[in-house]
């Protein structure tokens, strides 16, 4: 945000004395500063999100994340893919937020399904189940 005083001077009525060079110089300086601040704000707004995040929730009241889960993003055509490599699981959406929500649901579903099938898992899925248990707990109601 451009400071109020700076804005006031930029938008203010002309200097009481147009010949007042100091005032004109100050206005010029503020104008340049304002441009730099606006450019900085635009730059920040356009800065891409990081290529990975850590999530601490699965949006599922039955499950609690006890250790953050790393989610990596990839762009693919018009989709954003969110991947949890440690569980070999993925989600997607039209933007990062949607892809995060999708993978949260997917991991939750994976946890509950593997729990239900835990006595009948092959070697790889057994490892996935162990990885899930290290980071997710089920609430006991």
């Amino acid at each position: 945000m451009i400071p109020t005083e700076q804005l006031r001077i930029l938008n203010d009525t002309p200097a009481s004395d147009p010949a007042d060079e100091a005032h004109i110089e100050q206005k010029t300086q503020f104008r340049e500063l304002g441009k730099a601040q606006i450019a900085d704000q635009i730059k920040r707004a356009l800065k891409p999100m990081p290529d990975h995040i850590l999530i601490g929730s699965l949006r599922d009241g039955r499950l609690r994340v006890t250790s953050p889960i790393k989610i990596t993003f990839m762009a693919e055509a018009q989709h954003v893919i969110a991947e949890a490599e440690e569980f070999n699981e993925f989600g997607y959406g039209s933007n990062k937020s949607e892809s995060i929500i999708d993978i949260q649901h997917t991991i939750s579903e994976l946890f509950l399904t593997l729990e239900a099938e835990k006595e009948a898992l092959g070697p790889e899925l057994r490892l996935t189940w162990l990885s899930l248990q290290q980071k997710i707990q089920k609430y006991d109601y």
Partner: protein, 88 residues
């Protein structure tokens, strides 16, 4: 390489995956009562996103997936591939 929904469905059907209808279509490959491999797909049509991830979940390389799509792999071949990769 791209996979279309109908191509994946054909693979799941031919390899006799057990499917469950949920938010997405969930598919499980079961051998001798053990769940060996799982994947899922969305309910849309056309090209599937996440093809690389789906291929990884199916434990197939690109050539094997191509054969699966072209219907030159059957369930027994798939089981053999999984066995060779130490997944059975």
């Amino acid at each position: 390489m791209t996979i279309k929904v109908r191509e994946l469905d054909r693979i799941l059907d031919k390899f006799q995956f057990v499917v469950r209808h949920s938010r997405d279509l969930l598919a499980w490959f079961v051998v001798d009562g053990k769940v060996i491999v799982r994947t899922r797909r969305s309910w849309g049509s056309g090209d599937l996103p996440m093809q690389h991830s789906i291929r990884q979940q199916l434990k197939l390389n690109e050539g094997e997936l191509r054969k699966a799509i072209d219907c030159t792999l059957n369930r027994d071949d798939y089981i053999e591939i999984l066995r060779n990769k130490g997944l059975l």
